[in-house]
Structures are given as C-alpha cells and as structure tokens.
Amino acid sequence: MTAPLIDVRGLRKFFPIAKGMLGRITGHVRAVDDVSFSVQEGETLGLVGESGCGKTTTARCILRAIDPTDGQVLYRTSGGKIVDLAPMSPAELAPFRKEIQMIFQDPFGSLNPRMTLFDNVGEPLLVNGMRNRRERMDRVAELLRLVGLRPEFMHRFPHAFSGGQRQRIGIARALATSPRLVVADEPVSALDVSVQAQVLNLLLELQARLRLTFLFVAHDLSVVRHICDRVAVMYVGRLVELAPTDAVFSRPRHPYTAALMRAVPVPDPRVSGADGILKGEVPSPASPPSGCYFHPRCTLAQERCQREAPALQEVTPGHFARCHFAAELDLAMR
C-alpha cells in the first residue's frame, strides 16, 4: 500500500492564557492534544465534535494557517517524497500551499464583495504565477463550469448570488490551483436543506472526477454519514473514536459518539428522540477533568474512568476508541 497522502502524528496546539498587565502566562488551553490520524489519497475523512473540541484547530494546523506546538504533519508530495509540513518556514511551505486548499463555512463572509467572480476565483491563479489574463479567464470559465455555474457570471459580483451558488464559487476557488487535499470546514452547515443536498452531491462528483482527498470538518453527523469514508470523533482536544463510517454508525465504540448520534433529531415523528440526551456541557480544554475527559457526562462511567485516562485502542481492525470498556460496550443504534 502506498503511504497516506497526509499523516498526522502526535499533533499538539496549545494556546497560552495570559493574565494581568505583564501578560504572565498562567496556563494553556490544550486545544489539540496528541492527535494522530492519516488520510489516504482519494479518501474523505470526517472530523466531528462539538464546538470547541479542536476540530477546526486541527484542520488549521494541517493547512499551516497556524503553527502547531508539537507533532508532525507528514505529506506525500506528487513526486512520492514524504515531507513534514509542521516545522517548515513560510518559504519552504510555498510550493505545497497550492496543493492543500480550503473551502470555508460561510459563503457570505469568505468571498470578497468588491471583487468579481473572475477576481475571486482567479486570485489564487495570479498568486501562483499565472500572469496572462486571457489564460486566467479560460481557467476561471472552466472552473465555473466544473461547479455548475455559467461562465458568463464571471464578471458579476458575489452579492448577485444565493448562498448555494456562493458556496459553489468558494469551491471553484479552492479547486483553482488543482489541489490534492481539500480541507472543507463545515461547507454545508450554513445552507438550506435542498441546497445542501446539491452541494454535497457536487463534492462527491468532483472527488470522483478529480481524485481529490477531503478532510471534512463538520458537526452534523447525518451529513458526515453521507459523505465520509472514515470518521474521526474529537472531544476536548483529543480523538475519542476513529473508524470506517459504516462501523461507527452501526456500532459506535465510545459512549460520546453514541450520544452525539442520539442527539441528531430524526426526521420522522414516529421515532422518539427524547431518550438518552447528553447532560451538562463540554469541559474547558484549559482545565479538563481527571481520568477520561468524558466521565462527568458519561452515563456508563465507573470509578476507574475518574482515575485513569484511557488510551486509544484498536477494538476491531481499523476501529479505534478511547474508552476503557470499548470492547464490551454494546452501543448499537436504534
């Protein structure tokens, strides 16, 4: 088997907490704490969890939008060489920037309202050295067609487009430099249901055509179930479960994953979703609880969970869970 396209090992990102006038550092927010996973070429990995769990911070470390505190982000270049993106300087990173692109959550805030579609989508091309305007126009026209928009729209401004169309523009921009890895941060959560389905279908289609690899950050499990090959669940900066999508949904091995799934309201009035609601709130990553971080909210917690932090263990081949009782628990869904 070839090496994965991206291999994250022991990733950490701590943010210092400064107090007082002198800005003394009194502690750290452990936003991402020892996260490891890999993504194969052509695969979609879903990164899920509640707000503040560190999923976006993890994605940003991979993009090197922020600098990781520790760990490796191993990337397989198109030449087959393995490089570590984590410690690279901006100059060293430059050749890889165009290969790793991002689709943003907010289709209204992520496009420059003073730039036409041609400038919005064509900017990454200009930055990457495509100086000829004619050439850029041809490429932008091709990209717009690719995402299902008419090339004539090129000279219009973003305000003339609906949320779904703007998200297509954002996708076209992300694809401008022919990336190999696309990080999508909640790309459909701001869209209406009917538009959401169109954009999800577009992502699936583009992936098949262009052999893209997706890191899909989301909190909506039904969307994740629909689009991802594998799912990684995060809680307070740590991975708690990592497995193929079907395995996670048919038999989750971590009580937190099961609780997240139960929380999704079922679009059928005959199925009651009232039972087993997760109580309490997510603990602060600045002062996480002892033992298993999930024990204060876990209905199945035992004395050992308070004391001892569980390790991420492989329960069945390819199915990892961070729970002392992962092998025994039967958390099958309704």
Binding site: S51, G163, D220, R225, A259, A263, P265, P267, I277
Partner: protein
C-alpha cells in the same frame, strides 16, 4: 391531545410586502393557518420563504419599507378576538401584548441580549414593565425561572452578562426571558440553529417540558425537518411566501401531498441513508424575490407540473379535511382570483 374549538391565533390571507427601489418584494403572499391553545405548530421552509416575516407580522414588528398589505391576524385575548393587523405597532395595546401574551425567542441569543446590562436586569425589566411587581419579587421570579430552564447556580448567573455565558446557557436565559410573563403564545424563531446538536437536544427537551408545565402554545420556525418531526403537532410548509401544505405532523411526514414537501423530505441526509450515494435534489434554484414566477411559485422546479395550469394560475389553499390543506393543482382546481 385535546384541541380547543377556538384557535388562539388565526391568520387569514396575510400579505406583507417590502417596497424597495428595485421593485416590490411580496415576502408573505396570502398565508393562512391556525394555532390552537397548547399546540406546537411548526413552520418549515427554506431561507426567503417568508416564515420569519410572517411571525414578525404577528408581533407587528415589520419595519419600513415593509408593510402588512392585507389579511387578518386574529388573536384571542381572554376570549375576545382582536385583529392585530389593524392595531398600530406603537399602540399601548400592542405593547402590552408583546412579551406578556405573545413572546419571541429570537434566533441569535448573542445579538438579542444587551452586552452592557446583566441578563437578570433585562429579564427583571421585562417583568416589571408588564406586571405590578417590586424589584425584589421580579428578581425572585427570575431566579426561579433560571432554575426552571436548567441553569445551575441561578442566584449567581442572574448577575452575569450575556457574553459570560456559553451558547447553551445564553439560549436558556433567552427562554427564561420569553417565559417571564407567562405568555400564552411563544414564537421560537430557529432557536437552535447556531448551537451544537447535543445542546440542541437539551434545549428541545426543555422546550417540550416547559410547554407542558406552562400550558403555552408554540410556533416553532425552522428549516430543520428533524427538529420539526420531534417538536411539532401540526406543520405548515412554506415556499416563496405561500403555504404549500399544512396538516398534522404524521401526515406531513408519512403522507405528504405537495410535490415540494415530498422533494424536501427526499433531499435530507439522515443517519439511515446509504453512505456516499448521491442525494435526490430539488432541481433548479430558489427564484430571486424580484423574479417571482407566474402561477404556482414552485412550478419551475416541480416534477409533476401540469402545463397550462401551474404556470398560469396560482393554486388556492384548498382544504382536504378539517385540519389539512394543500395548494396544488394536482389536488384541486381551485385557483386564486387573478
């Protein structure tokens, strides 16, 4: 569940339009529905369908250039019907009604609270405005409300500012504020859109519990069909300012009549759907409000279009039963007067 014979709120042929430089936008274009006491009515539709504007009209909170141009909004106050569409937005009567009889849980709890006053002070102010209570009594009720909505350390949290609370707590405080004067009708405008699924599940469970305890009717606005299925007894489906279909929740989900409702239900990914298969979608895009199609607003995207009918005349909302109605030429030839 027993349904009282008289509706608490009866909306008939409501029309709201916005007069803009570029033209007139008919945001709400002939909407009719009833809300009975103790009922949860879900209003579902995509952005721009007029669901929020309808509710703002009920509260008389339409700002110029918007205007209610027609229809009736009959609210039954102590058994006496009042047509809110005829009451001046700034009148004493309307002010007494807002918050006390009809309360709103807005979409963005962060924007709804003032950041320079404590949440408690804002709730106490609302209580004292509507009821003859001293500050001490109003504060005691606020603390009690905070406990009711599941805010721990209620005594201390009353003195917190909204920005000191987490998203879930802020939404709970907002619900406490909406319930502070014991309203008979609660309008919840996408109350869980900006929060996590787990918190959403907590808030929905809380609303269900409080609805039983306080005996209020709720109008629940959302675009999330899962939330509607779990919360509502009765559902109104809207598209481009018109009601497409309405009926009991089970019939909407298991026997939808309108092609739009059917298409909407098919297009939602659920935990049960097959992995990595294309979802059925509604063809085309939502028309721009200035370019409303003639005839049925949904006809350009409809799979079951009847040429010569749907693209010519607007189907009227036709009653199929006592509490079931649909506006579609597949079910009735009744059209709106041209």
């Amino acid at each position: 569940m027993t349904i009282d014979a008289e509706p608490l709120l009866r909306v008939r042929d409501l029309r709201v339009s916005f007069q803009l430089d570029e033209g007139t936008v008919r945001a709400v274009d002939g909407v009719s529905f009833d809300v009975f006491p103790r009922q949860v009515v879900g209003i579902v539709g995509e952005s721009g369908c007029g669901k929020s504007v309808t509710m703002r009209a009920v509260l008389q909170l339409i700002d110029p250039p918007g205007r209610i141009t027609g229809g009736e909004i009959t609210y039954r106050q102590n058994g006496r019907p009042i047509d809110l569409a005829r009451v001046s937005p700034r009148s004493r009567q309307m002010r007494d009604l807002r918050g006390a009889e009809v309360a709103l849980i807005p979409q963005e709890p962060m924007a709804a609270f003032s950041p320079v006053h404590t949440v408690g002070a804002q709730i106490i102010e609302a209580i004292m405005l509507h009821e003859r209570l001293g500050r001490g009594e109003a504060r005691a009720r606020t603390v009690e409300l905070f406990r009711d909505v599941g805010i721990s350390m209620a005594e201390q949290r009353v003195d917190a500012y909204s920005w000191q609370l987490s998203g879930g707590l802020r939404q709970r405080a907002m619900i406490a504020m909406a319930l502070s004067c014991r309203p008979r009708l609660l309008i919840a405008d996408e109350p869980t859109t900006a929060i996590d699924v787990t918190t959403q599940a907590q808030i929905l469970a809380l609303l269900r519990e409080l609805q039983q305890k306080y005996d209020t009717a709720i109008i629940f606005i959302t675009h999330d069909l899962g939330v509607i299925a779990q919360m509502a007894n009765y559902v109104v489906v809207m598209y481009l300012g018109r009601v497409m279909e309405e009926g009991p929740v089970d019939e909407i989900f298991h026997a939808p009549k309108h092609p739009y409702t059917r298409a909407l239900l098919r297009s939602i990914p659920s935990l049960q759907t097959e992995t990595r298969a294309a979802l059925p979608v509604i063809a085309g895009t939502l028309p721009h409000p200035f370019n409303r199609p003639p005839g049925c607003p949904f006809h350009p995207r409809c799979e079951d279009i009847r040429r010569g009918y749907c693209d010519v005349a607007v189907p009227a909302l036709h009653a199929l039963g006592p509490r079931r109605a649909v506006s579609c030429f597949l079910h009735s030839d009744a059209a709106e007067p041209a």
